[in-house]
Amino acid sequence: MRAAPLERVAGRAQVTTRNGATLTPRSVVELQGITKRFAGHTAVDNLSLVVPKGVIYGLLGPNGAGKTTTIRIILSILLADSGRVHLFGETGNGRDQTARIGYLPEERGLYRKMRVLDVLVFLARMKGVERPTARLRAEQWLERFGLAPWRMRRIDELSKGMQQKVQFISTLLHEPELVVLDEPFAGLDPVNAQALKDTVLELRQRGATVLFSTHIMEQAEKLCDQLCIIARGRKLVDGSLSDIKRPASGQHLAISFDGSAGNAAALFCDPRMVKRVDDYGQFAELELVPGADPQDLLRALVQSGARLSRFQLVEPSLHKIFVDLVGNGGSDNV
């Protein structure tokens, strides 16, 4: 389905457009120096990023980092004060390209008094799908999600979970090439979260590009091909997961205890051995001082009476990188 060789070439090459801006070809979203100010504060500050075609792209950041504002600018819901947005390597803003974009806002909601089928047809019409096609596809999707018996019911007669499904269908009904999900996992139960994850992977399989924002690092780490971490409206780092993990050199250890942790807490504080630690009691992630031997730490732990179930040299987790990068002052939500 995807032209792999072309992508490899395209990933490096740059082209120059008429107005002098350089674009990365085959990029689905390209932001160049986007800045957005609201009364009193700067929500997005000179942000540039590239979302290549066919990837799952994570926009990560603490609450108030400017994720939603960035997404709104991509979708032309808000206008940037300065900077450029390029979509699909073509001219035309998010609203012009709306037929190719599916959007699930952070706060969910649908017309409460409308019938399920009518809502889906209306929202598809907004994306430029003709009425008969919209109707047909809506029926198919409802069938697939087991909502067919509710198609003539009003939205407010549906359970919350069902409403979320209907809204998700409305995001995908017009078969968008780019799917933008703002905090998609927020408020989902584990079963629905699993279903959403499967759908996201399926979308990529189909060749679509998925851009989603989250502040839950575990999800991003498992799901994203590429990501960008922002805080206070500024980009801290972006690239593929391995790109981001590489600069965090040094040895990282994941340690799990099976009951007793001995005097691990004291050992973790030894500055000759441990540079940074993230201790959860039964689990700890730590970065060793350069030159320190992990075997010394293992011996010391066993001697102190700790029962270990895991002692592993690992790549640092995204969570750790995120916390290190953002620090304590990065979140507006205190």
Partner: protein, 418 residues
Amino acid sequence: MSKVGAVIRREFVERVRSRWFWISAILLPVLFAMIFLLPMMFMGSGGARRIAVVDGTTTDLGTRVTAALAAGGTFAATRVARHSGVIDSLTRQTATKAIDGLLIVDDSLVVTGSAEYRGTNVSSLRDMQELERTLGVLVIATRLEQAGVDSRVLARAELPLRLTTRKISAAQTTGESSTESFSLAYLMGTILYTTILMYGVNVKSSVLEEKTTRIVEVLVSSVRPFTLLFGKVIGVGAVSLLQLLIWAVAGKLLLSERATLAAQLGADQGPALFEIPHVSAATGAVFAAYFLGGFFLYSAMFAAAGAMSSSEQEAQQAQQPIVLVLLVSFVSLFVLIGDPSSTFAIVLSLVPFTSPIAMPVRWAAGDLPLTDLAVSLGLLVIGVVGTTWIAARIYRVGILMTGKRPNIKELVRWVRAS
């Protein structure tokens, strides 16, 4: 373009499908029917009022009163000679509804003009007027007779007076009476006020629903905010026109078929309380033009009120100034009808915020210089364009804002934002 169509269609279909649309579509004609059918049924029930004339006179005055009342048609009068206990027994009969009332007359009727009526229908203005009129004529006749005036002169003097009123429009006598002018002006004013308010509030609710459910985010990523607002106003406007059409057809049917209706309900045709207003094509056009202008003007403002609020309570507060402005022209209705060419009326009919109600009322109530109409319409168009421009800018920013309602300073900034 098809997206505007989809927005219009949604607003229209969802509203016409709702219960409330049909309740108000049916309720108003029913209310209207009750206003003119009920009095007829009331008057018709049991035919003439059965009253007893308690005759305490020493002349034939009692007999003449009875005869005169019976001749009027409103009353079926029976003379009862006055003796002790008769008033009490008749009062009891009135209480048990065997008769409707009793009229007590004696010689003082001619001397001081006083008589007494006791009955269940004393609150009926028509009955009491008829009673007073009959007695008055008789008293005058009797006094004149006693003064020696010829009975033939008397007969001619008793001819009742009938004042016929005709409205003069453009130096031509029309077929329209003053009652008709009044009811037409009043009806138009009331319908304009009700409909503009009702559907303006509808636009506000629609804006607020999309804002509170955050659907608006998905919508404005697909269509321009102005397109969305435009489609919304047109859609709701179409619903209001359908509503007016239903009322107009129902009203016309009720008026033309009222004789049949009254007969079926067992009521007399009776004298009309309401005269059927004569609605000319020009009147219809004036009504339609001002309705549309007023609707666009006010729904733009209501949309802005909805967009700057985050909850129904906030929106109620935000819409209050708008409702007040609309109310100004509505409460001025009687002043406008009473003196359609006063300075006050002229000012109200020129200012775009009051002209949608004031101008049609002035038009219906009296003759109107065409220049006034042209100037007023021109100002209304300017008002609609200006208000929509400002409202659309508030709307565009407001629909994405959450948190507290903006103050005037912030609103100005919203409007100025590019």
